[in-house]
């Protein structure tokens, strides 16, 4: 199994190289602070630190004995994480079409199911009740123009 330091070290290294290269397309200003100075300083530091992390990771990797059993990945947890992230993403996509009042109880109900809630009446009450309270506070009191159903 690859040490996470190697993966993240390499990832941040690539990120810093990419962003550093991008600074060459910025305009150079001679008076005061050029827009390239701060990002270049940050990306160079990030590159050096990620290199250090990578080296640490390689060192750690060597210490790991080959006989060490592979760390068990909790598949149920991973599935829950993916489901919740996807539910969140879908929520941000459908809310503009269905409006806040329709999309939010669906999202809360989905999140409750991901958190293994089994009692259906709780799901209905909490998802509906929370949406109603939040809608009243933000729409009626704070006058936030929450997304509405397209045909309203």
């Amino acid at each position: 199994m690859i040490a996470s330091e190697i993966v993240f070290g390499a990832l941040f290294m690539l990120l810093s190289i990419f962003f550093f290269a991008m600074t060459f397309s910025f305009p150079e200003i001679t008076i005061a602070l050029s827009p390239t100075v701060f990002p270049r300083f940050v990306t160079v530091c990030l590159f050096l630190l990620s290199t250090l992390l990578l080296v640490q990771g390689i060192g750690k990797q060597r210490k790991i004995k080959p006989v060490k059993p592979r760390e068990k990945i909790d598949r149920a947890y991973l599935l829950r994480f993916i489901l919740l992230a996807v539910a969140g993403f879908l929520y941000t996509r459908i809310i503009r079409y269905t409006g806040y009042v329709v999309a939010t109880p669906l999202f809360i109900a989905a999140a409750m199911l991901v958190f293994a809630e089994k009692k259906w009446y709780r799901i209905v009450l909490i998802s509906g009740g929370t949406t109603a309270v939040l809608y009243l506070v933000f729409r009626m009191v704070f006058r936030v123009p929450l997304p509405r159903f397209g045909l309203w």
Binding site: S4, F8, F12, L15, S16, F19, M22, T23, F26, P27, T30, I31, A32, L33, S34, P35, F38, P39, V42, C45, L46, L49, S50, L52, L53, Q56, A76, Y77, R80, F81, L84, A85, G88, F89, Y91, T92, I95, R96, F107, I108, A111, M112, V114, F115, A116, E117, R122, I126, S127, T130, T131, L134, V137, F138, V141, F142, V144, P145, L146, P147
Partner: protein, 494 residues
Amino acid sequence: MSPLVEGLSYVLSLSHFPFLVIGVAGGIVVGALPGLTGSVGIILLLPFLYYLEPATALIMLSGMFCGAIYGGSISAILISTPGTPSAAATVLDGYPLAQKGEAGKAIGVATIASTTGGIISTLCMIFISPQLARFALKFGPEEYFALMVFGLTVIASVSGRSLVKGLISGFFGLLIAAIGIDELSGYARFSFDVPNLMTGFPMLPVLIGMFAISQIFVELGNVGKQLQRYEQKIKGVFPSWKEFKRLITVIIPASLLGTFIGIIPGTGGAIASFMAYNETKRFSKDQDSFGKGNLAGVAAPEAANNGTTGGAMVPLLTLGIPGDVVTAVMLGALLLIGVRPGPLLFQQNPQIINALFVGFMLAQFLILGLGLAGVKVFPRILKVPISILFPVIFALCFLGSFSLNNSIYDMLVALLFGVIGYFMRKHGFAAAPMILGVILGPLAERELGKALIMSHGNWSTLIRSPIAVFFYGISILSVTYSLLRMRRSKPRGE
């Protein structure tokens, strides 16, 4: 009318006082719930604060801050799980007391100690802050830039177990802060011609994602686990007069220690509470009873961690630099509600400062009242199932992200940073350094730009001011101290 009386009449008015009560009560609940910290509480409060007057928003924030630090002790005592990191030391004697059937008394002592710690630190804040702010009025861009550099060195002390990972997290935050239009040149950096990226990532959704949503993903790991519950009946909240007289000799020094530690950037409640616990144990005649349910072992850490609240506000209010994670989030919150901490705040908006001072003091008394009155309710708070709590918080996170700019894009940003934050946390990258980078990065760049404009591009201007050199010096000391502390805390052989 004296400024503090003016502040008192403002805070006590019917249109402001309820917000302080809500802030303190909300803080206690958030602090008591394991998994939710003061930072998350402040972030969840932000969408509401945006619609309030700055002074009202500030007193509500103060209530949340103080309430959450105190609230952490409740779960520490009842279920041996500190609600916030600063309550970790309270577990040592608080939980054994609960096991002996003295949970009520332990919470009572924690409440009295927290209130005393809070009052002492608020008094220190009221006396020290204006003096420091008056001195800081002499600061120009060079000194401010040096100050921001010092503020960024806090990254080293909030890095968690690995300094390298903490620094990477901090520089990643600085890189995120560099995205968007550069204030000096007007050039949109790293925008990839995407209109939404022209203004950079909005701060509120980034904060919500990194702290709150990532925590929700982490909590998925507790699904199906049998979480601890406190089932015993709570009775007897007050310590006897004899016990109180003995405890007050512990509470006052611990409060002063907490206040002093709170003022030092890069420290925070966790360090203060453990230091106070150790010192109390060291000076105790009955050292063997510590860890087995000694009331002084609850009083000392609680007085110290609430003592840090007022102390941590001193550098935040006067210099605009956060002392720890919660004050870093607090700084972000203040900027979002249009309050820019620093010496000018004392000069230009004294009414906000007075309201804050009074609000902070009243928050301590509210902690005492709500804490003692709510002792029997606290075990019920801990019974809220995670399958209800976190989905509701998730919905609130999305709504909060949306409400600032009425933008669905902001909801997506919050989700994105929630996922990033989750992976970073899971692999040992602390979220706090990144947030410090996101908040302090643009401020540091702005001050550097101003200094260079005034000196016609002469970089040596940065080291001409003795005050700036002083801040560079303590920045180096701060990083060295963090390195030494990290080395000392590593087990041998690692």
